[in-house]
């Protein structure tokens, strides 16, 4: 009774009270449950079956005698009728059209009850499962079971009054995601059914047939079998409610007849503040009410009830705890407000709204159903099973808010500011494990792509390169890096060394000069250590030197180092360079920086002994790896190579003309020069570069070993090269 008061509008309350009194009076007079049913409805129904059913059955108060009185004839009639109804109903059921609903509304109570009868059996097997699921989801409070039982026990004997149903006031909040087919249709439905106050009327109406298995009392508890499709159930309910609407002239007037239109007008209002109310009906299979556009539809009052009494679900996965708390608080405030104001506030707001509607005859172009559809389609986008992942900023924002408010709330317990909050769908986490559909006898499985199961477009697999390849590349990279480091170190030392000359000229103290000299010596030592020039002949040192000279900065470094190093080390450097000159030339193609080595080299070569010059020419003309011809061809076509050759020949000419004419070992020197000259003659004139020094002396030296004709050719070649 209390629940009813809060659910239905206050207006309904006095009526109910009145009815209650009258009922009580009737009960006292006629026995419990006798007058519960509508007399007019009863009359209509009985008028229908006047011919078949003896009028004595009108006395509905006594149940068991009636069952005895009803003979086989009655049983047969019921059976055939139920068959007929099934035949009419069933083919149209799966198509989801709303026409069955309306047809269901036209059914008489009797029809609907007979339709229910055959399906009662299977439902019983499931019995309490809905309840357990409800508890699992933490749904609407379930009335204490013992009270329920008492109620039921009483209902077996005497029919309870509609208003005493304890469950009416607890509307469902469902954990079914919007847009996806309901997974727990059975339980949800049954709960809905429990909520619906109408079945009692059904019971009352069908009480004459209490003998039948479809005892209305059991009908109340387990209204429909879970084996039915949601639509079927919806139809059944629709039918039942329609029936209720038809028969409720006295008791039901308050909700069904009188206030229906008013409430339908109010319907947009609850929509604004209540999220769940919109979400909840959307997901389930229980949608008959939205299909009834008429304001006077029996479902109208229910539609209105649900949002207002919506309990806040504590286990909504999607909302942040803080958000949830805020919502909860808000709801409590609202409830309090209602408690204080009673139905008065409600009524006033409604009246103002209806007034607005009266002013604006065009209002309500958008149906409630359409509004809900828009809301749902927007909420659908926010649906998420992993909010922290999908909605990181929202979650973090509310975390921050929580911290902020908790730090602020402590000192002052003043009224909190209400912040605007985004409404998000309350979705329970559902595991989506996709199983491809397989038809019997088919060869393959039919895959259907969906949001949860997107179609695999490519099967991309990350490939890793083999370790060996990786390390090799790494080694090369590391080597280059190392070389660069060496160059940098050497360069910084070189700059310091170059700086010493200036410092040397600045200071005049002898001691200081000595100190500086010592320091310079140390730096030079460091430099040669870094460049490993001392170990000259060793392969590793040579390798490093070549690496350094492959890099542009390294070449410049070497060019600047020559003046600082003693002759021995410079000779080593030059011979190293000469030895691997073809390689260096190849690396120098882009830089073209090798010629910068020419000037320092000339200074070094100018000091070389005969032996050293021979060795240098030997290394220039190639080692055993490549044929001398090949190497020389490459070297002599390079500017630096040719310049170096000229310098060497110049030096040898110098040595020959000097007093140490024996310095050059002729037996070694002559074939080398002959080889070089031969090679030079092979090279076409246009590919011979212009040497950086004058080739005159070199030609002079060649004249010692070559005949006139060859010398002429060489001269013309050099001339053409210099003229180029």
């Amino acid at each position: 009774m209390l629940r009813c008061q809060s659910l239905e509008d206050g207006d309904g309350f006095p009526d109910l009270e009145e009815d209650e009194e009258i009922d009580q009076f009737n009960d006292d007079t006629f026995g419990a449950g006798a007058i519960d049913d509508d007399w007019r409805e009863e009359h209509d129904r009985l008028a229908e079956m006047e011919e078949k059913v003896p009028s004595s059955h009108l006395l509905a108060g006594s149940t068991s005698p009636i069952s005895d009185l009803l003979g086989d004839q009655q049983e047969e009639l019921e059976h055939s009728l139920s068959q007929l109804v099934k035949e009419i109903e069933e083919p149209s059921l799966p198509h989801g059209s709303r026409t069955p609903l309306s047809s269901g509304m036209n059914l008489s109570i009797w029809d609907s009850s007979s339709d229910l009868r055959p399906i009662r059996g299977p439902y019983m097997t499931e019995d309490m499962s809905p309840m357990s699921i409800l508890q699992e989801y933490g749904l609407a409070p379930i009335p204490p079971p013992n009270r329920d039982h008492a109620e039921r026990d009483a209902s077996e004997r005497a029919l309870p009054r509609r208003s005493t149903s304890p469950i009416i006031g607890s509307p469902p909040v469902r954990a079914v995601p919007i847009g996806t087919p309901p997974k727990h249709v059975g339980p949800i439905f049954s709960q809905q059914q429990v909520l619906c106050p109408n079945p009692i009327h059904i019971r009352a109406a069908s009480s004459p047939f209490n003998n039948h298995p479809s005892n209305p009392a059991t009908l109340l508890r387990h209204p429909f079998p879970s084996a039915l499709s949601p639509l079927q159930r919806a139809q059944l309910i629709g039918g039942a409610q329609a029936a209720a609407g038809q028969m409720s002239s006295s008791q039901f007037a308050c909700s069904g007849g009188l206030h229906g239109p008013v409430m339908a007008g109010v319907a947009p209002k609850p929509l604004q503040g209540h999220v769940g109310s919109m979400v909840a009906p959307g997901g389930g299979g229980f949608r008959p009410f939205f299909g009834v556009p008429s304001a006077a539809a029996p479902g109208a009052h229910l539609k209105n009830i649900r949002p207002q009494q919506l309990p806040f679900r504590p286990d909504t996965t999607h909302l942040h705890p803080q958000h949830r708390r805020l919502l909860h608080q808000r709801q409590q405030n609202r409830n309090q407000h209602r408690g204080v104001n009673g139905s008065g506030g409600n009524r006033s707001s409604r009246s103002s709204l209806t007034e607005a509607h009266r002013r604006d005859p065009y209002a309500g172009l958008m149906l409630q159903r359409e509004k809900e559809w828009v809301c749902r389609i927007q909420l659908l986008q926010l649906q998420s099973t992993d909010p922290y992942h999908d909605d990181f900023y929202y979650q973090n924002y509310f975390e921050k808010l929580e911290k902020l408010s908790s730090s602020q709330d402590r000192p002052s317990e003043g009224p909190k500011k209400e912040r605007t909050k985004l409404i998000t769908p309350q979705v329970a986490k559902l595991e989506h494990t996709y199983k491809p559909v397989q038809f019997e006898g088919s060869l393959g499985k039919l895959t259907v792509s969906s949001v949860n199961n997107p179609r695999k477009m490519i099967d991309a697999v990350a490939t890793h390169r083999s370790d060996e390849e990786d390390t090799r590349e790494k080694q090369v990279r590391d080597k280059r890096r190392q070389t660069l480091v060496v160059i940098e170190k050497a360069f910084s030392l070189l700059l310091e060394l170059e700086d010493f000359d200036r410092r040397f000229s600045l200071c005049c103290d002898d001691e200081e000069r000595d100190a500086l000299t010592e320091e310079r010596r140390q730096k030079l030592q460091q430099l040669s250590d870094i460049l490993r020039v001392k170990e000259g002949s060793e392969r590793a040192a040579e390798e490093q030197m070549v690496q350094i000279m492959c890099i542009r900065k390294g070449k410049r470094l070497v060019a600047r180092i020559f003046p600082f190093f003693p002759l021995q080390q410079c000779t080593t450097l030059i011979s190293t360079a000469a030895h691997s000159l073809p390689f260096l030339i190849k690396k120098d193609v882009q830089d073209q920086i090798l010629p910068c080595l020419a000037t320092p080299c000339s200074q070094v070569v100018g000091q070389l002994s005969g032996l050293a010059v021979t060795a240098l020419l030997q290394s220039l003309s190639g080692s055993g790896v490549t044929s001398p011809q090949q190497q020389l061809t490459a070297v002599l076509q390079n500017k630096f190579g040719l310049t170096l050759l000229c310098q060497i020949l110049e030096r040898s000419e110098e040595l020959m003309t000097s007093e140490y004419s024996t310095a050059l070992n002729q037996s070694l020197w002559t074939p080398l020069v002959a080889q070089v000259a031969h090679c030079l003659l092979q090279i076409p004139a246009n590919s011979l570069p212009q040497p950086l020094c004058s080739p005159v002396t070199a030609l002079l030296h060649f004249s010692r070993y070559l005949d006139e004709q060859a010398l002429c050719q060489l001269r013309s070649k050099f001339r053409s090269a210099s003229s180029l």
């Binding site: 999220v275 065009y362 909420l379 909050k421």
Partner: protein
Amino acid sequence: MNYMPGTASLIEDIDKKHLVLLRDGRTLIGYLRSIDQFANLVLHQTVERIHVGKKYGDIPRGIFVVRGENVVLLGEIDLEKESDTQLLQVSIEEILEEQRVEQQSKQEAERVKVLALKERGLSIPRADTLDEY
């Protein structure tokens, strides 16, 4: 207050008087009758309001269906505050004339500007050509 995501928050504004600013600069005032998820709007008893300086004029347009992408701004009109405006309502003819004059002067200013820029070897794309792809 809580609010619904997206255009669902407009649901509660339905059947109220709204001002809609369109992408082409027009201002519509009418009762919002219907919306959808794209913010497509149905306006009822619509007037197109033209403001020029302190004057404004209303051109009755009837029912207006606005494609959502064209909505720049949408706001409810406070019916109580609507009347105490400092703006002066004038007739349609007058406001149209005012608008024409204003547009003409604007165009003239624009033309002068473009000319000045051209003399300096600069050119700016005209704003109205940017919108037409």
